[in-house]
């Protein structure tokens, strides 16, 4: 019987590093989770305890599925500005690329840069054949990121566990990798 261990890869983009989680990421991650405006479309504000549990959950998803959310680090500040990555917990309609950034990190193209890297990773390294993003019907910033990656809205107002979202379908692997990677 094998012991269990995981190694979360590190992906470097022009301005960001997608990597495994560190204890010191709790501050930056909580800055996102405690920001009412940033969390409007991500299930509402959470406590610091919730943020701790959420990081543990992200790592646990890696352990169970072999993939999961990365910590998104801004190279310039060397701090956690949000999360991004492939995920598919129980009750999800399909393999997803999820993302969320602190308000102060929004509007700079970081979301697109991170999601692009995560989708490239999912197609190239995980061998995914398709991917979605679940986006609140009113979350235009997130929709813009999906559009920039070539995704299209496939289905509206889908009940996913405890929330409602539109399903945005990303380009298939070959097409995406040719156009974006």
């Amino acid at each position: 019987m094998m012991d269990i261990s995981i190694k979360i890869p590190t992906i470097e983009t022009e301005r960001l590093i997608l990597r495994g989680w560190r204890e010191s990421d709790l501050d930056g991650y909580f800055e996102l989770l405690s920001d009412e405006e940033a969390m409007t479309f991500l299930g509402g504000v959470r406590t610091r305890h919730d943020a701790w549990r959420s990081i543990a959950g992200a790592i646990g998803h890696w352990a169970l599925k072999g993939f999961g959310l990365f910590c998104v680090e801004e190279k310039q500040s060397q701090s956690c500005i949000g999360f991004c990555g492939p995920l598919c917990p129980e009750g999800w309609p399909d393999n997803e690329i999820g993302y969320g950034l602190q308000r102060s990190a929004q509007g700079k193209g970081y979301g697109t840069e991170a999601a692009n890297a995560a989708l490239t990773y999912a197609y190239r390294d995980l061998g995914w054949t398709t991917a979605i993003s679940l986006i609140d019907p009113a979350n235009s910033a997130s929709q813009n990121i999906a559009k920039k990656l070539g995704a299209h809205k496939e289905q509206e107002n889908v009940e996913v566990t405890h929330f409602t979202a539109d399903i945005w379908r990303h380009l298939p692997p070959e097409q995406f990798l040719e156009q974006h990677a």
Binding site: S5, K7, H49, E90, T161
Partner: protein, 184 residues
């Protein structure tokens, strides 16, 4: 943070990390009415999966955590047993939730003792407790079989009143269980 979960073998049990294949059995442990009344109200499968993610990620956050425990003879899930140390708790505790079909065989106590051994020998614990509802006699019985005693100290935790049970010190534990004193 790294995540490394050892596998431990006892006389009748295997203690190891969870895999996706453990999910259905774990759902049975969580939703059975005998357990749900101590573990919180019955939850959806999505919530229970999130909890399984948390149980696994806890190992990375703390360096210790809870195991998926199965019987060696028939692979049946005995339960989820090991070290629990939430964000805002001052100390870790030994926590256990046992599958309703596997109660009364001494399995939980066997697993908790294995966890005390690794906690004292490898995780560096100098003491160990469990927090148990004063009405949860089955859970008290497990703690008692592992040498724990009720301290009478009650703490409030998310709407529950829980009594602190104290396990024997490392020295007392290995004196009482000399067969467990060998290297981990």
């Amino acid at each position: 943070m790294t995540l490394d979960i050892p596998t431990i073998e006892t006389e009748r049990l295997i203690l190891r990390g969870f895999t996706p294949q453990d999910f259905d059995d774990y759902v049975e442990v969580r939703i059975h009415p005998d357990n749900a009344k101590w573990l919180g109200s019955a939850q959806s499968k999505a919530q229970i999966y999130k909890h399984m993610m948390l149980v696994m990620g806890h190992w990375a956050m703390r360096g210790y955590g809870r195991f998926c425990v199965r019987r060696k003879d028939n692979d049946a899930m005995v339960g989820i047993i090991g070290a629990l140390h939430p964000f805002d708790y001052p100390t870790p505790e030994m926590a256990y939730a046992v599958h309703p079909d596997q109660k009364g065989n001494g399995f939980a106590g066997e697993a908790v003792k294995a966890c005390l051994k690794i906690a004292y020998q490898t995780w560096g614990w100098t003491q160990a407790i469990s927090m148990i509802d004063p009405d949860n006699h089955a859970s008290q019985s497990v703690a008692r079989k592992c040498g724990a005693t009720a301290t009478g100290e009650i703490i409030q935790d998310r709407g529950y009143s829980l009594e602190i049970w104290q396990y024997p010190s490392p020295e007392a534990f290995f004196t009482a269980n000399p067969d467990m004193a060998g290297a981990a």
